[in-house]
């Protein structure tokens, strides 16, 4: 663990820490959540404020009269939706760029993450898990890829050899070739950024939910959200389907033969919302 922490701390290209998201989650989880404190927190970051307002005025969310300030947005959309908008605007910035090492073009990782988060949120809602926690963890589940991508550049043929030739998953191929995988790295990064332990665990173990122990069910929601996104054509890059099937997820989420098709159909209905998150929050270069 020590070696991985050093890896994260010493990276040259560490994305800037999203300060608002973890704090905002803590705020809205309080029973006496106060809208003015939420507004103050988001206002702290002017570019985040601009993005939140832009998404809240997109076709999907837009109302008859435009939303011109944060207080208005919070009042009209509610805490839950505002949280998602903030998470989406934050995520777009960190996850919007291309990830060459993985064969992902600009927007691919972001599209995958948003679709997975929407699917996972549906799962959480149906199974009485905390929707915001699952949404956030799933939005950020592949954040480790933004860091590992550089190492993967030029290793394409080796990755394919491991997955096609040796029957390894992409995760196992990463560990074999680089000593670390994108799930572990993602968890470490989120720990560095002071996210809560449940989110850290759900991200670290989104391919191996059994290892998340007390957070296994959360990790299973993230796992399934990721799967559904891939099934629906939003799993991008080289050998994105080189992922293991995990039977513990089926038990954790009480799944039947109809569960996956049903999830796909339900997520299909969400695509307008997903498009709103995807296209309105324009990933910036910074």
């Amino acid at each position: 663990m020590q070696a991985i922490s050093d890896y994260v701390r010493n990276l040259r290209y560490l994305p800037p820490a999203p300060r608002v998201v973890p704090e905002l989650m803590r705020l809205i989880n309080q029973p006496d959540a106060d809208s003015s404190r939420i507004v103050n927190l988001i206002s702290y970051d002017p570019s985040l404020t601009t993005n939140v307002l832009r998404i809240s005025n997109s076709a999907y969310f837009g109302a008859a009269t435009p939303i011109s300030n944060l207080q208005d947005a919070v009042t009209r959309l509610g805490f839950q939706q505002i949280y998602q908008l903030v998470a989406a605007a934050t995520g777009a910035k960190i996850l919007g760029a291309s990830q060459e090492g993985y064969g992902m073009e600009q927007g691919d990782l972001w599209k995958h993450s948003v679709t997975a988060a929407a699917a996972a949120q549906l799962i959480a809602r149906q199974r009485n898990e905390n929707e915001n926690v699952v949404f956030t963890a799933t939005l950020l589940h592949d954040i480790g890829k933004t860091i590992l991508s550089d190492s993967l550049k030029g290793a394409y043929s080796k990755i394919v050899a491991e997955t096609e030739g040796n029957g390894h998953s992409l995760l196992e191929a990463e560990t074999k070739l680089f000593g670390i995988n994108h799930a572990e790295l993602g968890g470490q990064l989120l720990q560095h950024w002071n996210f809560s332990p449940d989110i850290i665990a759900a991200v670290s173990f989104h391919h191996t939910p059994k290892n998340a122990r007390v957070y296994q069910r959360l990790a299973s929601c993230v796992y399934m959200g990721n799967m559904v996104a891939c099934f629906m054509g939003h799993g991008y890059g080289h050998v994105a389907f080189a992922q293991r099937a995990r039977t513990e997820v089926l038990a954790d989420l009480e799944m039947t033969e109809r569960s996956v098709p049903q999830l796909m159909m339900d997520t299909f209905e969400q695509m307008q919302l997903i498009e709103a998150f995807f296209s309105s929050a324009v990933p910036s270069a910074a």
Binding site: Y102, G103, M104, D108, T163, E164, G167, S169, M227, C230, F231, M232, G233, H234, G235, Y236, G237, H238, V239, A240, F241, A242, Q243, R244, A245, R246, T247, V249, L250, M255, T256, E257, R258, S259, V260, P261, Q262, M264, M265, F268, M271
Partner: protein
């Protein structure tokens, strides 16, 4: 209601400017199907994932169609199949064939191509939508008396499919690859 009765007629896209000599690319999104007999049109799907891309082409009538469907059978949700017939392979196929024949395609001349249905590892059927889709497609076509003239299903990488009305060429583009590959040249 039989499969054949449960049909909607999609719009025949023929937006090409007759003076233009470049192909007009038209997207077939998820749970959509489109047909054309305009030689300038190239139909292409959104990335298919574990869903199926199914193309049909009659070289004599120069009629083609492309479908992007997610799941094998409308039994899963009959109500949704009415709103989105192309979400399911069986109802989508019925619509595709009915419309193709309205455009003067003949079933005995129609060639069928399939792609997509990417598979995750380990054979656990609840989680392997791609494998299930392939199995259902093969059985379905067999029952309907069609063969798959060319296919590239399964695999570990997302792909999208395109069909040229002018030539009947089918190409596949795999995520992460810059150059597309021919599935079939007529």
């Amino acid at each position: 209601m039989t499969d054949d009765e449960r049909v909607i007629v999609p719009v025949n896209f023929s937006q090409a400017d007759p003076r233009a000599d470049r192909p007009v690319r038209i997207l077939v999104g998820q749970a959509e199907l489109k047909l054309s007999q305009d030689p300038q049109v190239v139909l292409y799907t959104a990335p298919l994932g574990a869903g199926l891309g199914i193309a049909i082409y009659d070289a004599e009538a120069k009629v083609g169609g492309l479908m992007n469907c997610l799941l094998p059978d409308s039994d899963l949700d009959e109500k949704r199949a009415v709103l989105h017939p192309a979400m399911f392979m069986n109802t989508g196929w019925a619509a595709l064939m009915t419309c193709a024949q309205q455009l003067k395609a003949a079933p005995e001349r129609i060639r069928v191509f399939a792609a997509g249905a990417a598979e995750i590892m380990d054979d656990i059927s609840l989680l392997n939508v791609g494998k299930q889709n392939q199995k259902c497609l093969r059985e379905f076509l067999r029952q309907k008396g069609f063969i798959l003239n060319a296919e590239n299903m399964g695999g570990r990488t997302n792909c999208s499919m395109e069909l040229s009305m002018a030539t009947g060429e089918v190409r596949l583009r795999f995520s992460g690859q810059i150059i597309s590959k021919f599935l079939c040249k007529p």
